[in-house]
């Protein structure tokens, strides 16, 4: 039995979550639901206030995801990491020697992805674990 790491932030990654749960069920794996909650934007004053607010949001969203997994009969674990999404996912997956990482394309338009680089984009380049990308 191995673990499948899924990046989940509630917005457009529901398809990724469902895919991960489905695979986990077939393979007899458990899912690790990961939310990277580093605040974006410049560091500096009152940064932590934003980070804490994001963390609360993350707790709420991931609890729902864990519920979805439970309903499907799959073991799950929620991990909140105070890092940006791509780093959070690749570090955790490497650490746990996970079977794979499942992420959504986040509904980011191609243009935005090219100019700014999306989490998914970055993940594909830095992760040592196989990455499965799921379109919403």
């Amino acid at each position: 039995m191995s673990e499948i790491v899924v990046g989940y932030d509630g917005s457009d990654s529901k398809a990724a979550l469902e895919q991960a749960i489905g695979l986990a069920k077939e393979l007899g794996d458990s899912v690790v639901i990961v939310f990277g909650y580093a605040a974006r934007g410049y560091e500096g004053g009152a940064m932590t206030a934003q980070r804490d607010a994001i963390k609360e949001h993350a707790e709420k969203v991931t609890a729902d995801a864990a519920e979805t997994a439970r309903a499907a009969g799959v073991d799950s674990e929620v991990v909140l990491v105070p890092e940006k999404g791509a780093e959070a996912l690749s570090d955790l997956a490497a650490q746990r020697q996970a079977r794979m990482i499942v992420v959504g394309t986040h509904g980011e338009s191609t243009l935005r992805g090219v100019i700014l680089g999306s989490t998914t984009h970055r993940l594909v380049h830095i992760a040592e674990t196989p990455v499965l990308i799921v379109r919403p």
Binding site: A38, Y42, D52, V74, S76, P82, D91
Partner: protein, 519 residues
């Protein structure tokens, strides 16, 4: 199969987790240096204030010493930031600290002063950004048109607000590049200007050049005496504004055991150097009369003459990138301050919400953008001179909340001061002195700027416009405070806190307070 949902944390909650996150992002030395300098936006600060400092009656050629002296209160307050951040890294900086140390009423007013100062500065920022955008394309008639500049300034604020809401951020490398280019351009400007003064082919250079004189650095030969000095420092405080929070809060507590980080020291030296060298070069090249008469856009006015076309565009680009960095370091911290105030239960709850997709404090950010937009359009269109006065007015707000932060530090640690000389000096004397200096500047400048005829734009409500904007907005804050008092009774029942005994003797890293969670 047995199913279980186990919410687990890989890392401890609270500030410890945050620290870990910062560390693993490994903000390097260069990046720290960049953020320290970028949050003060030297190019933009010079463009916005150099002319006004020179124009203060009695300062003239003494602007370089004003640039140096203005830094002293900031340096003193930085120590307060450093110590208070150690006790409570978790919230709206000065708002949280003053609330804890001196009570919710002063704390609330501090938060308001931060917001007010940030809104007021947005007008100046957007005006410069609007004007310089047109100058970049040599579109002088648009730069002179109030309507065109208003539109450009409005677009600027909307775009910047959108960027902050969506949470677009430049990579550290891009930031290092942009700031590097900005500093290089300013250095090049100073070097070319001084070269032309001393070795130029045209004797006396194109303008009224003067050789550098030691008297420029002598505060005792100021013609205007203490009035001019205080007026200059009030403007000077503005140019260094942002340095403290950017540098001190970024300092990772693990390193603070070995004293202030190298990046902090370097960025400080770099900043003072930039301001002094560019000021000296500008007044040596063009003389003070030229700077005075072009005070609204000194750098673009000088650029054409010093660099000639098309190199003068470099200077304009430097000011524009600087202004964009500055807008972001204005909108974001303000939004986070109101976010923090909302989470403390001192402002409407909606301001504390986070966008589910962008993970930014979108309600706070958009509100900040909207208020700034309205303020900017009014201020720009009332008259150009009101804009000038608002920079002086801004000094009052900064002096108010920085001053209170200094006092809050000494007060919060008052029982720790006798434990060691270092505590006594760095957590007590230095912050208190900073607070006292800023109080003096506030009071003295208030007396000097109160008469209607002291302002560029004349009077407003029977006082000088700078006082009306600066102190008037603070008084408006008192009105809002009364309303907040009724709306948020729980927050205003908070008790004063002091540092836990022996806190400063503990190893750094562990905060003294627990995170505030919303009800």
């Amino acid at each position: 199969m047995e199913s279980a949902a186990v919410p687990a944390e890989t890392l401890p909650t609270g500030a410890g987790a945050g620290e870990k996150g910062l560390k693993s992002n490994a903000i390097g030395y260069a990046s720290n240096l960049v953020i320290g300098v970028a949050s003060t936006a030297p190019g933009y600060s010079l463009a916005a204030t150099l002319g006004f400092v020179v124009a203060v009656g009695g300062i003239g050629f003494h602007a370089p010493i004003i640039m140096i002296l203005s830094f002293i209160p900031m340096l003193l307050i930085a120590s307060a930031y450093n110590y208070l951040n150690r006790a409570d890294p978790d919230a709206g900086t000065s708002f949280a600290w003053v609330t804890r140390a001196m009570g919710p009423r002063l704390g609330w007013l501090t938060g308001w002063a931060i917001v007010a100062a940030d809104v007021v500065v947005m007008a100046a920022l957007a005006y410069i950004a609007g004007t310089y955008s047109f100058l970049l394309f040599d579109w002088q008639s648009a730069a002179d048109s109030l309507l065109a500049v208003s539109i450009a300034a409005g677009i600027w604020i909307v775009v910047m607000t959108a960027i902050c809401t969506i949470g677009i951020e430049l990579s550290a490398r891009t930031q290092v590049f942009l700031l590097g280019a900005e500093i290089l351009t300013l250095a090049l400007f100073a070097a070319v200007a001084l070269y032309k003064v001393y070795f130029g082919t045209q004797p006396g250079a194109p303008l009224n050049s003067v050789y550098i004189h030691a008297d420029w650095f002598n505060p005792f030969t100021l013609h205007g005496g203490s009035t001019a000095l205080v007026e200059g420092i009030l403007l000077g405080v503005f140019i260094y504004w942002g340095w403290d929070s950017g540098v001190c809060v970024n300092e990772e507590s693990e390193n603070s055991a070995t004293g202030p980080g190298k990046a902090a020291i370097m960025s400080t030296i770099l900043l003072v150097l930039i301001y002094v060298v560019v000021t000296v070069a500008a007044q040596s090249y063009a003389g003070v009369d030229f700077l005075r008469s072009n005070k609204n856009d000194v750098l673009s006015a000088l650029g054409g003459s010093v660099f000639g076309s098309p190199l003068d565009k470099l200077l304009i680009i430097a000011v524009l990138t600087s202004a964009s960095a500055s807008t972001q370091t204005t909108i974001l911290p303000t939004a986070r301050t109101t976010l923090s105030m909302a989470r403390w239960g001192a402002m409407p709850k909606a301001l504390g919400s986070i966008h589910p997709r962008y993970l930014t404090p979108h309600v706070s950010t958009i509100l900040m953008g909207a208020v700034s937009l309205i303020w900017t359009l009014i201020i720009i269109n009332v008259s150009q001179n009101v804009l000038s006065d608002s920079i002086t007015g801004l000094g009052f707000q900064i002096a108010f909340y920085y001053g209170l932060t200094g006092f809050a530090c000494a007060f919060y640690y008052r029982r720790e001061l006798t434990r060691s000389f270092k505590n006594f000096f760095m957590a007590g004397v230095v912050p208190f002195l900073g607070g006292a200096m800023l109080t003096y500047i506030f009071v003295k400048a208030f007396i000097d700027n109160k008469p209607v005829d002291s302002a560029y734009s004349g009077g407003f409500l029977g006082v000088g416009a700078a006082v009306a904007i600066g102190v008037g907005l603070l008084l408006f804050g008192v009105v809002l405070l009364v309303i907040a008092n009724i709306a948020y009774p729980k927050f205003f029942k908070r008790k004063l806190e002091t540092a836990p005994p022996g806190f400063l003797e503990r190893p750094p890293g562990e905060p003294a307070t627990t995170t505030v969670t919303p009800e």
